[in-house]
């Protein structure tokens, strides 16, 4: 099976590879895996607490070219979006952009899952760190 040019491009020059401090309150981490192929994908986002805009994103994926390309593309797409906008990203859009064949659709599903998991992790941190409203006496 031949990879599309876009997949090869992301595979050879992955964007935003790396990691961020997992314990930072501004960072959300999503770690997901696809049992079909044994791939594992970590996607992290750094969110501005005032604007909810994703200012930075990093990923590290162990898996096939399509999984790497899907997560690389995902980090590019979430950057500059608010978390709510990022939650609208659909795996089918990743499939289309990268021209993934049917057998690689699960890679795009994994990337969408990773975005959601990272945002969920970040949101959870916000709930904890938010000052609790003091009840009126």
């Amino acid at each position: 099976m031949a990879y599309s040019d876009k997949v090869i491009d992301h595979y050879n020059n992955p964007r935003n590879v790396g990691s961020m401090d997992k314990s930072s309150p501004e960072v959300g981490t999503g770690l997901v895996g696809a049992p079909e192929c044994g791939d594992v994908m970590k996607l992290q986002i750094k969110v501005n607490p005032q604007t909810s805009v994703i200012e930075d994103a990093k990923f590290k994926t162990f898996g096939c070219g399509s999984a790497i390309a899907s997560s690389s593309l995902a980090t590019e797409w979430v950057k500059g979006k608010t978390v709510d906008e990022a939650l609208q990203i659909k795996n089918t859009e990743i499939v289309k952009e990268l021209s993934l064949p049917p057998v690689k659709i699960h890679c795009s599903v994994l990337a969408e899952d990773a975005i959601r998991a990272a945002i969920h992790d970040w949101k959870k941190k916000q709930d904890v760190t938010k000052p609790v409203a003091v009840e009126a006496q």
Binding site: L31, V32, G33, P35, E36, C37, V40, R116
Partner: protein, 223 residues
């Protein structure tokens, strides 16, 4: 009852009827299979269905014996292997792994709920960390370096993974017993629960298997 492979009146080979592998041998859809019996049935049928026996028969009989023989081989190979047998049964029970995963993601998108990951987080962490170490090992190899501590550490993890792999098979056998009991008398809902537990377990096992494979490769090429 075994699917009828031969005409009951004249004893001639029949075209294969579309049955599942369990019915092909006349077994119930249970996961504890008497492998001795399976083997005996296999040898008996393969003797009787062997295409050589039909070399002088009508062409459609030749064809049927060929089709039946190939079905027999597939059925035997699938049922003999404990994992293949379980995976096959799960497919018969309507499990479509990828479809399920896609559907769950779509649901998460629509409802804002969190998708349940089939692979437990602690296993994912372990997989991720070990992959990081493997990458380091490969990079060292490329640079012509050799870190005995790292190799030793990875070797230790490999052993723990192999133990985990074995343990998962035993755990699976426990579910087989639950499943088989429910086949005779059990609610659909209970069966589905056991089915999903088996599916979870096989998913975890796939992960561990791939990881053991990668670790073995990396260690072999670095020593």
């Amino acid at each position: 009852m075994r699917a009828s492979h031969f005409c009951s009146a004249c004893g001639k080979v029949q075209p294969p009827v579309p049955v599942d592998y369990f019915s092909f041998f006349g077994f119930p859809r249970k996961l504890n299979v008497d492998t001795g019996l399976l083997e005996r049935e296999f040898y008996e049928l393969s003797r009787k269905l062997h295409p050589d026996l039909y070399a002088r028969a009508e062409s459609r009989e030749q064809e049927w014996s060929m089709e039946q023989s190939s079905l027999l081989n597939d059925a035997y190979r699938t049922l003999k292997d404990p994992i293949k047998r379980t995976e096959y049964l799960l497919r018969l029970e309507g499990v479509e792994l990828e479809e399920q995963s896609k559907a769950a993601t779509e649901k998460a998108r629509a409802t804002g709920e969190v998708k349940k990951q089939v692979v437990p987080p602690d296993l994912l962490e372990e997989v991720f960390e070990l992959n990081m170490q493997l990458e380091e090992l490969r990079m060292q190899k490329k640079a012509g370096e050799n870190d005995p501590m790292l190799i030793q550490e990875i070797g230790k993890q490999k052993m723990s993974l192999e133990a985990k792999y074995e343990a998962l098979l035993n755990e699976l056998r426990g579910y087989w017993d639950q499943w088989d009991k429910l086949v005779d008398s059990g609610a659909e809902e209970d069966r589905r629960k056991v089915r999903d537990k088996m599916l979870d377990l096989l998913n975890r096992r796939n992960y561990v298997r791939n990881l053991v494979r990668d670790v073995t490769e990396a260690l072999e090429s670095s020593t």
